[in-house]
Symmetry: C2
């Protein structure tokens, strides 16, 4: 039921994933009548997959503006909570949960059920940012925590490195700590303390530690994981999304003012459309909630059907690599 | 002597400003022999302005990696400190200082000489970010402070609003506080406390307070001033610079793969060149150190001659509007 474009975008994205992956079944949590009506209106070829889109009745949804505290107190029977209950129930055989709903509620509810992996305090939100050299960089945290102390930043590094290893097969991921400069004396106290912990983890073989990096290094293609507090990561991610979208508009306007309409649409639009997709990471990749005992992926609230489809693919990738279990193994090897 | 491209870029940028503004005289702080040699090599028409480029001998420069503490202890006779001494000396008749050197050193040294305006604790670094609707947004702080408490964030708001009023003539600037979401319960403690102070300032008529904004709103064109801690602002600014530069490369590569070399250079390159300039705010605008008793502008370390030229123009604009004096007036009207 989440997302800015309503349940139709969610159901269309789900139908596309089901249609392309014959072994996939998706349970759709929302008011049954409403979900059934949307399913019956699916166009071909999406409608062919409708038998593997199973409505699960949930009368109400977490409101977009609800706080974590509200969700914990009043959200027990919301579509989001019922989805997470199904994820953690042994009878339901659900492998992963995907939501485009309220992020704060998703973090709070999933921390309770399915709950955290042993030894991990809070989930981190992470997404793969497109970078130079055809590479991506996992940025985390994107807003699950604000004011992160040093140990939590170090936890983010372990989780990000585990994701790069398990999902992307990077044996020895290069991890950097976001700071205001590369010099040792710079930055906040928690960042400087985290640097000490990360150096120790690196000597234990957890990852290849790059040291401090600046915001621009996110796109440089030299780092696989960039760690920061959730306030900073959220600001960086959202400003990057805003800038990318403004830039694509400006390039388009600039070409249209120089070229005739026809030539512009032939030359510029296909290029810009592809670029837009490449550069809108959360909208097109989904964001993973790491550190939970099961797989939960957050789709962008502003995602259309295509974005939700990609979030489902992300969840499937994490299922394939058994991410939580492998993350737990790595945790026991390294964490204090 | 600062900047990644050496003194030649600085001197060429200075010469261009002097050539275009016949009333402008620039004093150049660096080793006299070296500066003289560069001046003698200026090409026409820049060489015509050489008589208004006055070398001021300074044997050494603050190293790029020096800390603020190092600069305060050992930097007294550096080109940067001598420039700031000239700025604060009544005999020198210097109106503004522009540097492409070490930011931490510039903040620390300028805080000592020329010093802060009465009642202001620390300078803030701010630059105008290009936004939609042909507008710009002042983002501050960009790294002068990390871990800013609520009152310092509120000070940033007053300084940014004063800049928008004085320099851009926006009578009632729209000020926003950067947060992880628009909801009241979100964000760090200092941001939520700053929100309370900003609401009070707004009722006193200091500015039009928009409330919380997210990273993407920086480019939306609906806000004139965006306030955040220096760690966050620095990360947002540098990641935006990195993204803009990656994006321009990608657009260029995409067009070049679709068009013949000649057509690409005719159609795409001029558009992209302009875009690059528009989107590289610090490189092309300079960043102001606000809250000092005199005008100090930081040019991007990576700026070529053109970037340094724009930083000088920025300083001239602030001189024209008598920014520190007007900022001090506004301070007395509003601040606690």
């Amino acid at each position: 039921m989440g997302g800015d474009h309503g349940s139709r975008a969610i159901i269309h994205g789900a139908a596309r994933a089901a249609q392309e992956h014959p072994a996939l079944t998706l349970e759709l949590f929302g008011p049954r009548q409403h979900v059934m009506a949307e399913l019956s209106r699916l166009p071909q070829p999406l409608a062919a997959a409708a038998s593997r889109l199973v409505p699960r009745d949930a009368a109400h949804a977490v409101p977009p503006g609800a706080t974590a505290a509200w969700a914990l107190r009043h959200g027990r029977s919301s579509s989001m909570a019922l989805m997470l209950d199904a994820l953690s129930s042994a009878q339901c055989h659900v492998d992963a949960a995907v939501s485009a709903g309220n992020t704060a509620a998703l973090v709070a509810l999933s921390r309770r059920v399915p709950g955290m992996l042993p030894g991990i305090d809070r989930p981190a939100i992470s997404t793969a940012i497109p970078a130079r050299k055809q590479r991506t960089c996992y940025l985390l945290d994107l807003g699950a925590s604000v004011d992160s102390p040093a140990q939590r930043l170090a936890d983010f590094a372990l989780m990000g490195a585990a994701m790069a290893q398990c999902v992307d097969g990077i044996e020895y991921p290069r991890v950097a700590l976001l700071n205001v400069g590369a010099e040792a004396a710079k930055g906040s106290v928690s960042v400087r303390q985290a640097d000490v912990i990360l150096r120790r983890y690196a000597t234990q073989g957890a990852f290849d530690y790059h040291g401090y990096a600046e915001g621009g290094d996110l796109f440089g293609g030299c780092v696989d994981v960039m760690v920061c507090d959730g306030f900073v990561g959220n600001a960086v991610l959202k400003s990057s999304e805003g800038l990318a979208s403004m830039l694509v508009e400006r390039v388009q306007a600039a070409f249209e003012s120089r070229l005739s309409g026809r030539l512009a649409s032939f030359l510029a639009r296909p290029v810009l459309r592809r670029l837009k997709q490449e550069l809108d990471p959360v909208r097109y990749n989904g964001a993973s909630l790491l550190g939970l005992s099961r797989i939960v992926v957050k789709s962008h609230g502003g995602a259309h059907a295509e974005g939700f489809y990609y979030a489902i693919l992300r969840a499937m990738q994490e299922v394939e690599h058994n991410l939580p279990e492998r993350l737990a193994e790595r945790w026991q090897q390294t964490a204090p």
